[in-house]
Symmetry: C2
């Protein structure tokens, strides 16, 4: 037994990423991890707390890097543009995805499977909000509410791209493909964010 706790976390990350939280049972997790059922509750307390710790462990690293990159941009003088802000948001995730390919899927699940909103809120929203604010400052011609809504679109596109991320290939090939997709995504999003404000409704 190397480390029961880690084996549970690893397996849960993979299975929940592939199937979703509600559709993945603890028994499936412990069977594939080769540990005892009670170990889950001993180490985590409950299924939900397992997910929480899972998300927290991975998200906090990515978010810390994102924040420091954003701060570096803002302290470099001269308002940062949309593209570099998006890069500061996506590249850390790409790094993590490269070493932990399952991570990316899980994050997509947490965002799109709206059934654990507190978890997504706790571990994602503070950072996302900071980036939205940066984007609002980079786009003074567009109403802040519309920029925020575009941030919503960004999360959706990201989550969907992530949760259907390339499955089992050779590591190098998966990595290249992931990088290619992220690059396309950032290009797509940068143009979307920079679009002129949509006109108000007419009757």
């Amino acid at each position: 037994m190397i480390d029961t706790k880690d084996k549970i976390l690893e397996t849960a990350e993979r299975l929940i990423g592939e199937q979703g939280y509600a559709a993945t049972s603890l028994r499936q997790i412990i069977a594939e991890a080769g540990v005892n059922l009670a170990a889950v509750h001993y180490h985590f307390g409950s299924k939900e707390e397992l997910l929480d710790e899972l998300v927290q462990r991975k998200a906090e690293k990515v978010n810390a890097i994102r924040m420091s990159r954003l701060q570096a941009l803002e302290h470099a003088g001269g308002k940062p543009g949309v593209r570099v802000i998006l890069d500061a948001f996506f590249e850390p995730a790409l790094e993590m995805a490269s070493s932990h390919p399952q991570f990316v899927r899980l994050m997509g699940r947490v965002i799109s499977e709206g059934m654990m909103p507190e978890i997504a809120e706790r571990h994602f929203y503070p950072t996302v909000q900071r980036f939205i604010r940066a984007l609002q400052q980079a786009l003074p011609g567009i109403p802040p509410a519309e920029v925020a809504m575009r941030g919503h679109f960004m999360l959706g596109a990201l989550a969907h791209t992530m949760s259907s991320s390339p499955k089992t290939k050779k590591v190098a090939a998966r990595d290249t493909e992931l990088r290619r997709r992220m690059k396309m995504l950032v290009t797509f999003l940068a143009a979307g964010f920079s679009a002129p404000a949509s006109k108000a409704e007419e009757a």
Copy 2:
């Protein structure tokens, strides 16, 4: 009893839209619908077939309208632009969402909750593929594979926006808000699709 089958469909649409497929039990559905548990299996056969019929009923109407609008565009002479193609895709969904507010959420779930891929594939992909092809023709300067990937981003943004669509408000207010969001979404997506192709990777 007006119609047991319709009551099941209505309630299932709402609950699955709100909670997801795996997280919604048949017993919750029949309790809120006020019908007997066996009625579900009598009328549909199984939980999964219920979902299938649910999606099929709603999707086929929307898709039929989408297709006829797209064909009208293409037969009007002169290659249709990105914006009008997107409008032909989104406006029918908006109409449906206006009369059946739960529908929009359910669709988001089906797309993002990847656990019933055959269902999403059966009822969504044919139409989506047709629109992707139209967009590829409207964007000759961009590699078709990249346009297809952008279609993926579009679905993600749409699904996420839909599944977190405005909850219980007055009907008129919800309608206006939905229309506003869709307008922003199309503006955002049109700019994204029209972005120059992302450059190839460098080492």
